[in-house]
């Protein structure tokens, strides 16, 4: 592990200088490093302990580390592969490559150490490295960076404060040593520490009330880096949540509240509920496809949080499984968006249309991605949603179940908007000459499609990792037998579902082929109510796609506006202070008056 981290740290420098020779070498270095890391960590036995730079036993390879590292490395290898071509559009390719490698270094470090200070340092490395990539994106990305740094630092300072609180109490930074003793502490201390430590996770994984940075940052970051942000960096927050919920004896630390769920988990579940609601309904009304998926990330972060906070056999496994599903799906979707932007140069949904006939592979990637996000079999997205639903229903948590149902069905709505607006519908005249993305861009997308379907039909591999994590935390592991998945409310078999799906598909295809063949007609041969149309660009419904639904929650309160107004208040105070200390006649008068008043008052 130490050598891997060293290679990554050196790789950042090497990548920077190699990029100067040829821009494409930077992503190739990242690809080589992540494939090497994937190979090393895949084969590494769980429980290995190593030193780091002379500090003893800092690195510890747990089942949770393995799971999250593998997700990270899959995402990063696809990202690097995609970047080999895309890098030609990057604004500062050398720094971009070097900082990408540094981000990987930071996140892997976070996953590999239970030492809280080391974890904090790696965390900051990842945040700072990604922080400098974000402003290389669109016009507004510099402003977005401020959102990113402010909310990230809220999270990390909470984390740091919690860490020192724990250190002052127990005299150690090792999480697993602390977790044994914490249950006997006072209630206030337990609440404070848990909230502070999880604050970092909440901020990073875009959970309400710290969800506002996602829209700005994901929406404005460089196109491929959004894939890493949503597919991987957000998962760093999920890792922190999973780590503390698993390692701390949460169930004995806090009192029971409802159906075997303790009060602290319940607070988290409610944060998850609100995140799902906000993410879903805000995503429905976005016209920018990247911002739409950013809100989808908020909603899915809510799912993950709910699953993890349930802390039981099925729900916790579902939450963990959802991490990998969302990581793969978000990466697929953002990479396909990056391919679309690479060819058309816009992210506004209603400025595009009909790209399916020009970019079929990109379309298929997006399609499989959204099928997974919406949780439809036979993709892996369904497996985790099924687990979370089963757990919620078996506990009788129907209010939370309602939010998850709304999020799940709402996801059909928002994922369909780019599908209909960007890929289907009328092809715009300006896009007549658009070509499919280059082969190098398509390959990582195809790999992700294959993985999503493979793990949807044969989820065993992921479930082995997930149950290892559960065993590590002393939970009852999720029960599965081959492709048959069991919960306390019954079972299902992903292979049978897949076979039935193929049977249905074949029956439909046979009927289709037997009947007279349809005649191919061009896209502008349409039913137009008998009218001759001049401009078929306008015969495309993409603007305000869900206008009738958006009307229903038009005047909703916005946390982004609320935070902005706080900023304005602070600015006003700052301006006031500024006004008072400037060397102007009025300031002198003010201070004179104040001093005189003080003197008079003292003399009085």
């Amino acid at each position: 592990m130490q050598s891997l981290l060293l290679y990554l740290a050196i790789g950042a420098l090497v990548g920077y200088f190699l990029s100067m020779i040829n821009k494409r070498l930077g992503p190739i270095v990242l690809l080589a490093l992540s494939l090497y890391g994937l190979f090393t960590l895949w084969n590494m036995p769980i429980g290995s302990v190593e030193d780091l730079f002379g500090f003893e036993d800092i690195l510890q390879f747990t089942a949770l580390s393995k799971y999250f590292s593998i997700i990270t490395l899959i995402v990063f290898s696809c990202y690097a592969f995609f970047n080999i071509v895309w890098i030609s559009k990057a604004k500062r390719p050398y720094a971009f490559s070097a900082l990408s490698i540094l981000t990987l270094f930071g996140t892997l470090g976070v996953f590999l150490t239970p030492h809280l200070i080391a974890l904090y340092i790696f965390w900051e490395v990842a945040v700072v490295a990604s922080l400098f990539i974000v402003p290389m994106g669109k016009e507004e990305s510099k402003k977005a960076t401020i959102w990113y740094i402010v909310i990230s630092s809220i999270g990390s300072y909470m984390f740091l404060y919690g860490t020192f609180l724990l250190y002052s109490k127990f005299g150690t930074f090792n999480l697993f040593e602390i977790s044994g003793d914490i249950a006997s502490e006072g209630t206030g201390f337990k609440w404070l520490v848990s909230l502070l430590l999880l604050g970092a996770g909440v901020a990073k994984s875009g959970i309400f009330p710290l969800h506002v940075w996602l829209r700005n940052v994901h929406g404005n970051a460089p196109d491929t880096f959004s894939a890493v942000l949503s597919g991987q960096l957000v998962k760093m927050g999920s890792y922190i949540i999973a780590l503390f919920l698993g390692a701390f004896p949460i169930a004995t630390m806090f009192s029971q509240f409802y159906a075997g769920v303790n009060i602290f988990s319940y607070v988290l579940i409610w944060l998850g509920n609100i995140s799902i609601l906000i993410g879903t309904f805000m995503a429905i009304k976005q016209n920018d496809m990247k911002m739409l998926m950013a809100y989808s990330t908020v909603a899915n972060g809510g799912y993950i949080l709910i699953g993890l906070a349930l802390l039981d056999q099925v729900g916790f496994a579902g939450g963990l499984f959802h991490v990998i599903n969302h990581a793969l799906a978000a990466t697929m979707i953002f990479l396909s968006f990056a391919a679309v932007v690479y060819r058309t140069g816009t992210t506004k949904i209603d400025e595009m249309g009909g790209l399916i006939f020009k970019m079929p592979v990109t379309f298929v990637t997006y399609l499989v991605g959204i099928i997974s996000i919406a949780g439809i079999p036979p993709t892996s997205g369904f497996v985790s949603k099924w687990m979370i639903f089963q757990s919620l229903i078996s506990k009788g948590m129907f209010v939370t179940a309602m939010f998850t149902f709304v999020g799940s069905i709402g996801s059909f709505l928002y994922v369909f908007r780019p599908l209909a607006g960007v890929f289907l519908g009328q092809l715009k005249r300006k896009d007549k000459d658009v070509k499919e993305a280059p082969m190098i861009m398509l390959l990582p997308m195809i790999i992700l499609v294959a993985l999503t379907i493979l793990w949807g039909v044969f989820p065993q591999q992921v479930l082995v990792w997930v149950t290892d994590v559960q065993r590590q935390f002393g939970m009852e592991p999720f029960k599965f037998d081959g492709t048959v998945l069991y919960s306390n409310l019954g079972h299902w078999d992903s292979w049978t579902v897949f076979v039935m799906f193929m049977v249905g598909f074949i029956i439909a295809a046979v009927i289709y082929i037997l009947m007279p063949k349809g005649k191919k007609i061009p896209l502008d041969d349409q039913y137009t109510s008998g009218e001759f149309l001049h401009n078929f660009d306008l015969y495309h419904y993409a603007t305000k796609y869900y206008a009738f639904l958006e009307r229903e929650y038009e005047g909703h309160p916005s946390f982004e506006d609320w935070y902005t107004s706080i900023v304005n208040v602070l600015k006003a105070i700052g301006k006031g202070v500024d006004y008072l200390v400037r060397r102007t006649a009025s300031a002198y008068t003010f201070w004179m008056a104040l001093v005189l008043a003080l003197l008079l008052w003292v003399r009085w």
Partner: protein, 184 residues
């Protein structure tokens, strides 16, 4: 003159299909003129067209039967042809009233089309100004008979003599050039 016995060229499957087509005619009524008001009574409870398996459809793609219900100006004829060409084969056309036969009372207007079958292959005309629902239903049963016997082959004629129809259409209407959103 002896009536020439027409040879039935249809295969077995086509014959069966024609039986089905005659019993399930979905219609598209292009309401150009006063004939449209005769359709609601034929659809509703008095005459109930649905018992013959017929019903109104929303778009030409779904429809089998095209009702041209009244007089045609040059402007509407363009749209009638445009709509007809969107329908899927086999498709049938019924001309309503004397307007589609000879121009009716508007025969001498500068912009009225007098004979529809110069431009589209009409399978059946209903005489009258306007035809009553009884006549309409009579026409429908007649058309069903024709379909079963394979005589309603207007769509085949249109495909075979496409050049001739196109030439007539162009002569009367000219090429349709769409200049901008509001003019053609």
């Amino acid at each position: 003159m002896d009536k020439i016995e027409k040879i039935d060229e249809r295969g077995v499957w086509e014959k069966i299909a024609d039986q089905l087509r005659s019993r399930s005619m979905w219609m598209l009524h292009y309401c150009t003129g006063c004939g449209a008001v005769e359709l609601p009574p034929s659809m509703t409870s008095r005459f109930d067209m649905e018992r013959l398996g017929m019903g109104p459809m929303a778009t030409p793609r779904q429809a089998d039967l095209f009702l041209v219900t009244g007089y045609l100006s040059t402007k509407t004829l363009r749209r009638v042809i445009y709509t007809y060409e969107k329908m899927a084969d086999p498709k049938y056309v019924i001309g309503f009233g004397s307007c589609t036969i000879n121009g009716g009372i508007y025969y001498d207007s500068y912009s009225t089309i007098n004979r529809l079958d110069q431009y589209l292959p009409v399978d059946l005309y209903i005489a009258g100004c306007m035809p009553r629902p009884e006549a309409i239903l009579n026409a429908f049963t007649k058309l069903m008979d024709m379909i079963r016997k394979g005589e309603a082959d207007g769509w085949k004629r249109y495909n075979e003599n496409y050049e001739w129809y196109k030439q007539n259409q162009l002569r009367s209407l000219g090429e349709v050039v769409v200049y901008d959103e509001f003019h053609e």
